[in-house]
Symmetry: D3
Subunit: 330 residues, 6 copies
């Protein structure tokens, strides 16, 4: 079983000890990104993975690629080129104080300046079962848009399952018209087998009417011939946070229970859920089991520092077996 | 709008990773103090601020002053002299384990050995709207007592609004008689426009009778011609902490709702509340809005490391808009 | 009042910032072990303590012994020999994510390769009131088994009170038969005055029938002439943890109330409870008071980093006086 | 005496413990840049300074500006706008292993996207004695080029002394023609009073012939009506490094002695030299004394971590008094 | 070009800030070992590498393997089994104060308890050009001895070039007779093509007479049909250290010049030299060039923290081009 | 062999990574002082030691005493009282950049406010062979002066050897007249057997004429009946530092060779030398051997971080055996 992902490799700087940026001159670095998080998780869950991306040809790019390998992600499809690494800062929250994320420039990153001609998608996809494309590529640059669409097209043609995560972010689309973005997403969805997203993505981006959730997902799946539509959402009341996931398939909507989360670092919660869902699909688990597994992977990740889930199947099954109540493994 | 504060600049050593002093040979340093916290906050809230104080003329004093500037506090009224910097150690608590504070000597600090003659209060107060005086100055030394009273007198005469924080601490007054301290506070209050304190301060220090809270504050305000009397208090049940603030003005008592706080570091909670109140007064907000704002500033500060609030108005309005339930800003 | 302990000194590596081993190349080291934790606590509670053990004769062994002294434990009975230091890694948990412990080899440690002939128990026990033996010695090696039994025998003969902690761990006994271990424990119990353990230890290891708890403990105490049998247990519901202790004496069973614990690091909870119980026995406190004290010592320890309790009597009495609700001592 | 600087504020990430990027996930952050280093130094040397620049309007930009204030640099001319902060990584060298610098994107920085219309140079220069312009602005973007030239023009007109540092870097001019850059520098030099650069800058960039050094500098100064031309250079033999400075004025060439430097971090050596030279000019010192002072400031800075010199006049005079041989000040 | 190595993966703990173990409770972890260092270097030099070894099946073993991947070493031949990870502590030296290394137990490591039957050497060696065997395997356990010899035999038979590093250490052979060790090395050398060692190894372990160095190496190479015999040595005078390498081939002895080294951390100097030599052999460089390259790789590594060389060919060629005198690459 | 020391326990804050105070918000803490350094060293050299001093009765004082025990110093003569802990900051130097020390207040320390009546010197000195008194006590307060003199007197009377270190510091005596200090030292010297000091101490403090060094020391020793007068001095040329020691006894002057030192941290060099000399006296070594040993102890300490020497006899003999040229002990 081999899974590739296409997306940007990003440098994350985390301020330690729950401090604010203004309070600390030390930061912890990690190499993350939607694709990185997803593959890092799938690699820990036992599958062969590889990243299709571009990094700068300098000691920072090499560090980032070393980190990919450390996560268990094959680096043979990573290109070294001009440009930079996108990066962002994370100030962890505490109690009701919110976690804060500040982006540095990503449009001049090696990934963002590389168009489809620099990749050989056809040979990259040989022997591959799933390819994951992060929707952010559609928001970034002309180059990433064409590359993402080209990859989806080639994969679709070769019969490689295409996973696509909407990942639509307002902040990244201030200069892109609603119409343009909608059309790009629609074009992409023609090639997609498994989509990750939310109700908001369908109503706000694709202009679906606000109908009953199960009907909405069924209609969307039918419109674009999507096999699985899955996603997660978060609820909050004062000082408590909850997490829940769903899978829509074949007209049915499966929902997990709400699970309380003591969030340490919420970034990557969706990627952890997605890798859990893909695992369930690979293993042909029942949807209920897949949801429990995917939610557990996400909860464990949110109760850990950093984006990338590092849990293997045994970790998650042990966790589910005691319903998350065992505080010590020794 | 320009606000000055008179008080001691202190060095704080925080033991990292929630450890006890005995467990760690590394500490994090920060520059704090009632005035520093208040002005650091007001500077982040958009006002011009400046500190009237004294530090040692060595690399430690210079570091402390560099920290003041970093907080946005003007350092042109800081004197460099003999003496030392007062300091204290903080061991953070966890759950029901209490936070612990250990003081080193402050009576030999540059601030404590400097009397009114070393300051030029008259020119310092030119163009100033508010001056804040920390009541601890009344407990420390002969020099700080006279300097604080002299400053209050000059400010009062010049029509600069005088804010005064009772900040009465038993531990600092073991060698001072109740009568002496009461008289000093009474003398000070003659010049005060805005007082920060608690019910305890009125009954235990100023010997008011224990009457209904609103009547007590009204009587006290009338007695000393105090325009605003404000303060905060904390409540605890097992493993939960709450915070609440009040403003007494013109015979009325306004109280905020109790707000749960997931305390990371409780020091500075009162200073954060006070800077919120002063902001409301400057901006002429309704007292309810001022209290909500001041409590939010204090809650965010208690859910952060270190004493000094670093939040700007936008941070606090965003926080209030989602009632503190938004865990991530990206 | 002088208390000795016999057991292994272990090196603990804690991953900082709540990270997983895979996420960090920095670890915090500490010197721990059942005997170390117990004596470190008793030394902070005001008693003279000393450790009977062996460490390697190199800079690591010397560091460990320096740490013992730092904890207030006399090192004059520590031998320097061949072998190594046993060690383990701790990854702290968060919320429902479990704490994780990974052991390195301990069977080749200096302690594990040293038999009774290398110790002079007789003179070591001169003037000693209590000696504590950790049951793990019975699981480790031939040498530690004979040494532990020999020490218990000599102490019993000299009238030194023998405390024994079952500390039975499946993971350490995969190659030892149930029968062998049962007999070793039975032999040991002949010399024991005060035993620490759980219901499970009696039913699963010593093959007692599952009868009413108070009857079970009474029967066990009678069978082996045990003066006190004490222990603690933990309960969990989703995201909440509780701690409770008991003392069985003279046919009576005393139980503390369940106390909620915001666990920061649960290792050492039993050792903290045991040192509290021993303190109560030394001081002749009422059993209810002893339990409250011992539970408080354990809760404070679980709400701190690292195994070894560092609280003195004043810390614990202050804590009990405000029922753990005072967040700040200044 | 008031000195402004125009240039980019950059974020520097230093890998700790002399490690390579690939070896560490922790970095130390500092706020640097040619203008920042120069003003930080001048502020420690006792002068009033202020930075004219742009930073992003987010928590990273605010941190950078807090750092400017900490260095003693007035931030009232700093604009908050779109864009990002330029950044670079430093891996310190050791022995013959070279220090390594890796840049992230700076062309999309707030500074680089801001043209002259966003600044009010005329009022910024009121009451200013010196303004310093970093030549890198000529290499970066259309916006920074016009802003730098416009500022120089306005300053020249107002009689503010213009200091200009060539700072010409190949790496930043791969896409700029030699002719274009030469003309830009020539245009700038029309307004310059004090220029910092090297022989290479004159021969390679401005196409001067390779004549005797003193004649070359005299000719260059005459051509552009430069009052002072100053610079420094480094020499190396195996495992030893040396530093030397010169000032050319009025046809004369003054050179300091070669001074051995035990480099800890060589970045900022030129900025430290320049701030020393400017100090000498302000104070009207003899050129020999100015050179000794400027070289000492640079040597101390190279023997310290980070770019920005933090030494005051007393530090440097003490250092010169004992010829750098006093290892301890207590 | 594919190179495998067989040897132990070890955990290294480095005390930071040049401190002694007794002075610090923080250590930096890295994953090292002769094979790891050699392959990490060769992977950075551009070759495909893979490690044949065993690690414990727990989160520590997984971390170590993640580190291997980070270094660019393929982990598909790493087995997860019982046992532990060997480890050692490093206290860096300074000036004349020596670097100090303290070992924890390695005989119970996963590597040491695994014999040849647990490996499938035959298929592991498919498509492999070089295999490297660390001589320490001959000193450790019965299992590692048979595994190392079996691997050498299989490789020799398949025509894979066998590299062997004597790495003979007194400290590891206190319980092994000279005769036994000599015979084991002799048996191994029958299969070896390229040997790394020193004059001492030949005279003291293999009992060669002390003749002229070139004659000695020629005789040794002839006796065992060794194609290349290479090694390095260190010289010291007060406060200066030098490094030199040699290659003996076909009766000729090639020696590099003595190069001064400012040692930051000397461990791994021989492995860095060996990977440089292997590179020269792969690339068919002249022996003088190979020696310059190998010595440069070793000097750069000794002037870096940690054992494993992380330099690529460009780094080394740049270094050689300026003879190590360029302090900054930007 | 039992040695006591009387003196102040001080808290040292060291800025990490060779940074300046203004550059770092993290500091490393250690517990030091002349007596602490001397006894810490003697304890590592194999002797029984104990500190007579006073610390504050709070968690900082307890931490300091835990550190004493860690160093191997008996704490049973340490009193817990009012007052504080003296402290100082250390910024390490690099190359020609000097190390910098900044003191916080020590006159209000627990040690400084405690007079002779609070100590029971008579019973403290039972069974003691040597007592060491730091001359700084004569400069500090009335209380420390009388305590030091009283202790010397009692010891002298009981036949305990009195070691006295001049340790005269200008900075501590700005308010004390030369005459007063001279008389205090003269009074003390009546009781002294072994004095540590320098030529300067004799000429500048005691007003001896500047005669030939050997004659001067002989005269001084005769005047006060001093058995041994020993000391060390430092020489510097550009970028090199040297260390040398002497012992004057019975009219003879013994001098060690100058030894180059690569200083990492020079504080404590004299204490390390003194503990080496005392060791030689205890062991009755030849003076040449004693000097070599004492100089080696001091060089190793200066090439380490922190004041307190942590070397045992084996470390020093090994170091001397290879003349400090062995870079690695493994």
């Amino acid at each position: 079983m081999k899974i590739l992902a296409f997306g940007e490799v990003m440098l994350r700087y985390t301020v330690p000890e729950h401090m604010l940026l203004e309070q600390s001159d030390t930061v912890l670095m990690s190499t993350v990104g939607t694709g990185v998080n997803l593959l890092g998780s799938l690699s820990h869950l036992g599958y062969e993975t590889g990243m299709i991306t571009q990094v700068p040809d300098n000691s920072l790019g090499k560090k980032a690629v070393a980190d990919l390998r450390k996560l268990g992600i094959d680096d043979s499809l990573v290109g070294y080129t001009n440009g930079y690494l996108g990066s962002f800062f994370v100030e962890l929250g505490h109690g009701s104080r919110p976690q804060r994320v500040t982006y540095q420039d990503r449009l001049s990153s090696s990934f963002c300046i590389t168009g489809p001609d620099e990749y050989d998608f056809n040979s990259a996809l040989e022997g591959v079962d799933y390819v994951h494309i992060c929707g952010i590529a559609l928001s970034l640059t002309k180059e990433t848009r064409s590359a993402a669409l080209e990859l989806a097209k080639v994969a679709h043609k070769k019969g490689v399952k295409v996973c696509f995560d909407f990942n639509y972010r307002m902040g990244l689309n201030e200069n892109n018209s609603h119409q343009m973005m909608k059309e790009l997403y629609q074009e992409m969805l023609e090639y997609v087998d498994i989509a990750f997203g939310s109700k908001r993505d369908l109503t706000d981006l694709l202009d679906y009417a606000e109908i009953k959730e199960s009907d909405l997902y069924a209609k969307f799946s039918a419109d674009y011939d999507i096999e699985y539509f899955a996603g997660s959402n978060r609820k909050s009341d004062e000082h408590k946070r909850y997490f829940q996931g769903f899978i829509a398939h074949n007209g049915q909507l499966y929902k997990s229970k709400l699970r309380e989360v003591k969030v340490l670092d919420r970034i990557g919660s969706g990627d952890a859920f997605a890798s859990g869902v893909i695992t369930g699909l690979i293993e042909n688990w029942k949807y209920e089991d897949t949801l429990r597994f995917a939610v557990a992977n996400s909860v464990l990740t949110q109760e850990s520092l950093n984006d990338t889930p590092l849990f293997d199947k045994e970790d998650i099954f042990d966790y589910l077996a005691c319903d998350g109540k065992n505080e010590l493994i020794r």
